[in-house]
């Protein structure tokens, strides 16, 4: 169980700073200094990173619980990247985290990053907030061995790009870039493990965004009056409210179960299933929420788009539906019919994915 005090602290920092203007400003400027400063002041970006590595300590579940809140507030900062991803890679390799925002190269198929003779070469795509991060952490192969390298952003060329929500997803070019720190990745940490860990962070963020999306839609439809009554009184609109609440409940629960499993081990089943459900929910719940909001939901001035656009963007990050359904389906099919139900009930305790 995550300490309620920790969640209260996080909630306060997020609700104080993730204002409509701050989120709009982050999309315009590519950075939200006020949000970052408030979170950094209480150490939240380094939650779930061992104190020995310069982190704040705390469990993966703690980090994911805070990410769920960050998702609900559409917090436009690299919270997942700095702690649960970069911090995890650095600490695992025996390296230390630094003070500023950090990011991680997610590892797109079109990337060409390699390490040789102690320097990095190649191009990495869709790197979150690379332009504002002080450190870019790369997991790449050096002579066939997975290696963690931390490169100062100043040592790379960064080309600005963004996702559907206007969050920076930059292209980073390494030309003989010398890492500030470098060490072999620990056993079990490879491109696949990073994708799983990344997906775990997205499940938590999406769970929070879906909860807030549902809440916003409930509130709006109870206020909006048409035909002489709040539109939430119409059965056709109630159907959208139910859809939103169902998808949020499903993904929040999945996120909690996946977080618990990740405390025990790789949690391959829960991550695959959870990201798949989150991705499906991103489509279903946003459609219902937008339909219930009408034209108001299509404007910049109303906050629905802060959530729906993030859900559409996060849906594609760290594995889309095709990736996770194929991967989970292949593992389940290989295990055979007799293990189908035990796997559904037992998850990764029964089936490795």
């Amino acid at each position: 169980m995550t300490d309620p005090l920790l969640l209260e602290t996080a909630e306060r920092a997020l609700s104080d700073t993730c204002t409509h203007e701050a989120i709009q400003g982050a999309e315009r400027d590519g950075w939200a200094p006020g949000v970052w400063a408030a979170l950094a002041e209480v150490g939240l970006p380094w939650l779930a990173v061992p104190e020995a590595a310069g982190g704040m300590g705390g469990t993966i579940a703690d980090g994911l619980a805070v990410l769920r809140l960050a998702g609900a507030h559409a917090a436009p900062v690299p919270l997942a990247e700095t702690g649960l991803l970069a911090g995890w890679l650095l600490a695992g390799a025996g390296l230390r985290v630094a003070g500023g925002p950090a990011t991680v190269v997610p590892g797109r198929p079109e990337d060409t990053v390699s390490i040789s003779d102690g320097v990095l070469w190649g191009t990495a795509h869709r790197v979150p907030w690379a332009r504002s991060a002080s450190l870019i952490v790369v997991l790449a192969q050096d002579a066939g061995a997975w290696t963690v390298a931390a490169v100062s952003t100043a040592a790379c060329r960064v080309e600005a790009a963004a996702n559907l929500a206007g969050e920076p997803r930059d292209t980073v070019v390494f030309e003989r870039a010398e890492p500030a720190q470098m060490a072999p990745a620990p056993a079990g940490v490879d491109g696949d493990a990073l994708r799983g860990r990344g997906a775990l962070t997205r499940i938590a963020l999406m769970a929070g965004a879906l909860e807030r999306l549902s809440r916003l839609t409930i509130e709006y439809t109870h206020q909006r009056v048409q035909f002489g009554r709040p539109v939430a009184r119409f059965q056709a609109v109630q159907q959208h409210l139910v859809t939103g609440a169902q998808e949020a409940a499903l993904v929040v629960t999945a996120a909690q179960v996946a977080a618990r499993a990740a405390e025990q081990g790789p949690a391959g089943f829960e991550i695959a299933a959870g990201k798949l459900l989150a991705n499906r929910a991103a489509a279903t719940a946003t459609r219902a929420a937008h339909q219930a909001h009408g034209a108001m939901g299509m404007t910049q001035e109303y906050p629905l788009h802060h959530l729906s656009r993030r859900l559409w963007a996060w849906r594609s990050e760290y594995g889309d539906e095709h990736h996770w359904s194929t991967r989970l389906g292949a593992a389940v099919a290989a295990a055979g019919a007799d293990l189908l139900y035990p796997a559904i009930a037992g998850g990764s305790a029964v089936l490795e994915v």
């Binding site: 439809t221 059965q235 109630q238 609440a245 179960v257 539906e321 095709h322 194929t326 099919a333």
Partner: protein
């Protein structure tokens, strides 16, 4: 905050031990190939199996020990029921009595009623049907017209109940009747216990669309119900009936009806799965995993003494839709003409499922009504 609450939970070591025990029992009692597996709660009727289950303490397990139950929790019953249903076990004989009639009698019944009905329920002997729907009262249950008129020592009941599953086999049913005419139709309703072999009661089959016979019309003509068989308070039938419906919703029976179709698809076609079929299995496993977690969390809420009506409705609505969706998905990746007479068990299950699937989102409350129930829990 939204008033629906779901909190992820996990099975305790003791609950996992029960799960292993049930699996072992089923593997020994009903080895694959030795019986015709059914589709979830639509499975077959086998009173002998119900009695053997009861001997293990697994019928009425959540009822109090002093009435023959075993004081187990809603989660423990969940663990048992999911295993029975995914195995396709013949649960029809004790199903309704175990799921709702027993709990309702325990909750609203007199001491005498509990002593009379609960022990034989827990022995897997006494079976129940549901006496709610009428020709003019389906989703709108407050429209029931079956009338109970006061006579000396009890009530005379007249009216017609429909869609009464298993009435031709079962022993009793709990009947929603009108005991007085009130301005508010939700008042003046009561629940009574009626023996399905009562004088004046006629059971006529209503053949199901696939030719099977489990649906019935039950006509009640001057059926005498003594005072001691009124369940709960006279006039409180609506509230009692609503709480009975909560037992009916949100459990594994609302998302496992087509599970065996997928399992046998996997068993028989594993050598020829194309990319679409693999993805389908991944999608289905993910959704069953997620639905199961939600449904399990509802059972935990029940054990904490809460009445998760909106949560149950949310789960049932989503679960039953998925039961149909996964069936459609399997049909999309199999090039065959489903036949109830097919040699392959997968094909027979598929045929049966296609024919009965529309009922999944109707029985126990239509999805449209469930969405209204759920929406009441979503307040600004």
């Amino acid at each position: 905050m939204t008033s629906v609450r779901f909190e992820a939970t996990e099975l305790t070591p003791a609950e996992l031990a029960l799960q292993a025990e049930v699996r072992e029992f089923l593997a020994a009692e009903l080895p694959p190939g030795s019986f015709a597996p059914g589709l979830g709660m639509g499975a077959g009727r086998d009173p002998a199996f119900s009695r053997r289950l009861a001997e293990r303490g697994w019928v009425g397990m959540a009822l109090p020990g002093r009435y023959g139950g075993h004081d187990r929790t809603a989660v423990e019953r969940f663990v048992l029921v999911e295993e029975l249903l995914r195995w396709g076990a013949p649960v029809a004989h004790h199903w309704v009595a175990d799921r709702q009639s027993g709990p309702v009698i325990n909750r609203f019944g007199t001491e005498e009623q509990r002593r009379r009905f609960l022990p034989p329920i827990c022995r897997g002997e006494l079976s129940f049907s549901i006496g709610m729907s009428e020709p003019d009262a389906g989703s709108d249950l407050a429209a029931v017209r079956t009338q109970a008129n006061r006579v000396e020592g009890g009530w005379l009941v007249n009216g017609t109940k429909v869609w009464t599953s298993g009435a031709h086999h079962n022993d009793w049913f709990i009947v929603l009747v009108r005991t007085s005419q009130e301005e508010d139709r939700h008042r003046g309703l009561s629940q009574v216990l009626i023996d399905l072999r009562s004088k004046g009661l006629t059971v006529s089959p209503i053949p199901f669309l696939d030719g099977t016979e489990h649906f019935n019309e039950v006509e009640l003509r001057d059926v005498f119900v003594p005072d001691e068989l009124v369940l709960g308070e006279v006039g409180m039938g609506w509230a009692q009936n609503t709480s009975e419906l909560a037992y009916e919703r949100g459990g594994p029976d609302r998302w496992l009806s087509t599970y065996l179709v997928v399992q046998h698809f996997l068993r028989e076609r594993s050598g020829e799965l194309d990319a679409r079929a693999v993805a389908l299995i991944g999608e289905a496993a993910a959704r069953w995993w997620g639905l199961r977690q939600l449904s399990l969390s509802v059972a935990r809420l029940v054990d904490r003494g809460e009445a998760p009506a909106a949560e149950s409705a949310l789960v049932k609505e989503m679960g039953t839709r998925f039961e149909q969706d996964v069936l459609a998905a399997v049909q999309q990746v199999t090039d065959l003409e489903p036949s109830p007479q097919a040699h392959s068990l997968f094909e027979r299950l598929l045929a049966r499922a296609v024919l009965t699937a529309p009922s999944f989102t109707i029985r126990g409350g239509t999805n449209e009504v469930l969405r209204s129930v759920a929406a009441r829990g979503l307040n600004a």
